[in-house]
Symmetry: D2
Subunit: 346 residues, 4 copies
């Protein structure tokens, strides 16, 4: 069967990326795209790269417009999905690219986001180790899915195998080189090209970034007890991409081979999370436009640390690709439909 699809927030970067991926999906037919201030305009004016959807006109983002589709992707500002979802039929598959349904800890929500707490939905990182299995299991048949935060899923996937295998202390340091597209079409001076070109600009330093509670939640799923996460994102001059360096102290007596084995075991057979050979490191260009997370891991013996690096395209595996992959799983479609493993490099 063909599923009818609506994409809400189609004028933004995340919504646009959902559309770009769905253009290659044989089972999904996008019939509706919506926006807020841009409603009424041709999609092609806002997303000129989406040639195969050049015929679509942006409608208002309302429950009435979204209802009547089999699948609804929400790419809306935080706080917007609750009211909309409440008015959609229960059996509509809703995939939220926002943060509203990611956190299970109400106190963490209050501290990092604020506003009304929404119930947590199935979390869209299928490959994440959880309670002896993987989160994939919880996505099968789900009708409500929370796509992950791009930084959160990246850091979690990079270091989770060490947690699950009990090889590292729960004292994680993550530093990320990130492109600005994760911030959306955000009209602030710090996101201007003039500010970003030729510069590396840190932000959200010192424990305030909203993806921290999401990482902690993920690491607990992977087996951690009380993980500490030092998290520093640095904007660098590339439109897309996350290169996360994640390191943690090695437990006494752990060997490099144990580390390699743990990471290999964690992602064996996964198409979209791949471990690179020892001594090679992921680059963001290698996953540009792809749903692939590339991971490199090694042991620094002198520093007594595991060093794991991960590269993802923040708009694909970090957001829209995770959304589509999760929707495929929920509906029983082949998991990789409409997703590629091959990056657009150079």
């Amino acid at each position: 069967m063909t599923y009818t699809v609506a994409v809400a927030g189609a004028s933004g970067y995340a919504g646009g990326e959902v559309l770009r991926l769905l253009a290659g999906h044989p089972d999904f037919e996008v019939t509706t795209v919506t926006a807020s201030s841009n409603a009424g305009k041709p999609l092609a004016l806002l997303q000129p790269h989406l040639r195969s959807y050049a015929h679509l006109i942006l409608q208002e983002t309302t429950p009435a417009v979204l209802a009547g589709h089999d699948v609804v992707f929400l790419a809306l500002p935080h706080g917007a999905s609750g009211a909309i979802t409440a008015q959609l039929p229960d059996d509509v598959l809703v995939v939220d690219c926002g943060a509203d349904h990611r956190l299970t800890d109400e106190a963490a929500w209050a501290k990092f986001y604020g506003g009304e707490f929404n119930e947590p939905w199935a979390y869209g990182v299928p490959e994440l180790p959880a309670a002896g299995g993987k989160l994939r299991d919880r996505l099968i048949g789900a009708t409500k899915i929370a796509a992950p935060g791009c930084n959160a899923s990246s850091v979690s996937l990079a270091i989770a195998p060490g947690i699950t295998a009990g090889l590292i202390d729960e004292d994680i340091v993550a530093v990320l080189a990130v492109g600005p597209s994760g911030a959306g079409k955000n009209l602030k001076v710090q996101y201007l090209g003039s500010e970003l070109l030729g510069s590396a600009n840190p932000y959200g330093v010192g424990g305030g970034h909203r993806h921290i509670p999401e990482i902690i939640q993920n690491l607990k799923l992977a087996g951690a007890t009380d993980p500490k996460v030092s998290f520093t994102p640095v904007l660098v001059p590339m439109a897309r991409g996350i290169l996360a360096t994640v390191t943690a102290p090695l437990k006494a007596g752990v060997t490099t081979q144990q580390v390699r084995d743990a990471w290999e075991g964690a992602y064996a057979g996964e198409a979209f999370v791949q471990l690179l050979p020892e001594g090679t490191w992921p680059r963001t260009a290698d996953v540009l436009g792809a749903n692939t997370a590339l991971i490199g891991v090694t042991v620094d013996e002198a520093a007594n640390r595991v060093v794991a690096l991960i590269a993802v395209d923040n708009l694909v595996k970090g957001t829209a690709g995770a959304a589509v992959q999760s929707a495929n799983i929920a509906l029983g479609l082949p998991e990789g439909t409409a997703l590629t493993t091959n990056g657009v490099a150079p």
Copy 2:
């Protein structure tokens, strides 16, 4: 049927891009990849973004290795294809991404390239107007195809409608903002990241660029008599992309509407060459990874000129996409197989 495919020069940018596209081709099976100095190495070491070909090992580029495939894509240095092709069976479809078989004018070859002149093959820009039809016609059933030079096809597509419709003088000025990937993995100081990042660097100024005779040849196919082409490429800090500004004097009495009509007519129904609405302009990000050429055209009345802009991904529509599209046509497959119109933006 499934065609077996070899890609020669698979360790370079053009060869890698052919592979990236073929990974999504249901009718082609890449069984062989070759290189010269990198023969013997895993492809994944040279092209870590091509995850779906991670199992392939680079072999030597020899006729013996390439023979026995239905289709052979050559992404080799200029001058290398002649000897190889001569030793392949005549019915093998050979698509050459190099320059050896593009020019019909032996004197132009001698002046701009030098070395042995090779016979011209069917030229891989299907949408180019030629003698009342399009070059597509000459690709049907072809067994030897010359993929175009990226700058040459871009400039030609941008301005050809004005030539064909007789609206402009044959005094063309083309200035191109180009990414360095068109130069391949060329180990010269001027291609270092340090030299290119944050800078705009012209090269080949004043009439020496090798793509000039190819443009002139194309414009003659489109109906020009003795076109003059001033051609200036400027390297800018993006890995991929060509944004060509092409302008020519308007003939007396020609109206803006005639110009719009000519360009619209020339590319009506073409999936991969699209004219943007009046007043909007192509951007290279909108075609990143896509086989699309986006064109904007207008009339500058004060300057009495047509100004046509075109954006292409030099490695896709400019090279590998043109190669695959042409191969599809040659074999009678749907022309857009394995090619997308949607760019990876932002």
Copy 3:
């Protein structure tokens, strides 16, 4: 003596660059910096790179605040300088980085800018040929100076020698690769880093750009009668810099040597406009942070055209450097005070 200086619009890119240059000026003491919405904030918050002015607080931009200084640099939105200047003492040296006092043609002002026409001031491109001399002469002793538009001065300097020497037809084509800092801290989607990184984006195509009448005015000063200028700017991913390719038809019988001689003669002895040797071309990195315009010129015999390329830092030679250089001339100081010819490359 030491001149007291106020910089109005000090929170923007042009104002910031004036300050950066003045920090090295032994004869100027910046005592006042002003802004509009940012008044009251420490300058260091808005311009964290200006360490030597970290002690200054932004004041309101009012005539009362600006009065009482020997020199006032205005880096304000178009239309703002007239009312302010009217309330300053006549003998204050005012250098306006905006467009208000550049154009002499009221009709051109009305067409390209609109609003009240302001009297033209001495135009701050000292090296521009004009009526047998150079514009430098008009700057000596001036008390009101209009700094040039960055694109306008670049294109004008590149091609003016050919006009003055009568070697070319007045049918100019200029295509520019430009960085976004020329647009200021302009909060529009098209200036976001996500839109600019990895892309080449044309704008103002087809004759609408406001710098066109300024170029025409300059070329007339250089001796042109009725110049036509096709002008296409393309935003490329570098914060600063203009690389303009400017071409015009060669008049019959003109030799390459005549062209080289004309350009060499025009800028002989100029510190800040330098002609490169035949066959070498300017790069924007070579003038980053410098007040230098580097020009390369050649003849394309097949296309019968002069091709002149110029690289400038749009914020220095294009704006703030021109302002400081002109102020130096006006006050009888050594012209190059506080200005460097050496770019920050790579």
Copy 4:
């Protein structure tokens, strides 16, 4: 008096930057520039941005050519300085931008560099805390100076105050976003613009980077006993700049105020190492072309860590600026001569 100066290795990035800075130095006169394979060529051909040295011709790098100058700056490959220096008079001030004279630990040299061990020279980071004072003291009157490794000095300056004040554990994690110019004009595929543009590329992961022993040496000078340093550099698409994120566990009971006080105290009165206000973070654009290191520091209470960030221009404060600053100190000149604190932003 005016000191005569020779710069060896003037065709490279470090040598070029020494020249760019010396162009503004009133007490130094550069009379000789040397190179190896480029000897005999005009400097302007290799360093077209150095307009004020356009008259110089590159000579061979030999002791005979370098002798007879008061000051010699060496910007040579590792291993080249020993033989040259041995043949220069003892009283020549030699400043080596290479690694040969940085390390005091012969075993570390053997492990990370190999080849002949050279005696350590005065280390050119004047602001580094050392044994109750600063390294500045050891530079006064020195005749042999080792300019620092850019990454090493950055990481050391960022975290040293916490070591000296005894506030942190010696378990340092440093992740750096770096531009490729630190690698010089190195003709390897990984440094091509096509590989770097639009990508974040880690290298030297897991403890193998040569700057690690230099950091450890510096931290011991600052008071550490047996520091562990996890060090991960990531190439990002900017020509210049280092943004280092350096974090270490906070000792029990240490307050944020103690941390702020320690960092403020360490760099009070320093022109070229400046601490930003709490809650603001350094950006590399803010120090482009400047000799300034900007530091931000905070405490992440949840992670129980100090997080210090530092931005430097790798070619200035990281290399050539440190060399010139150190030479100024050695000769008793004002320390900041020819150096600016103001970055070229945006």
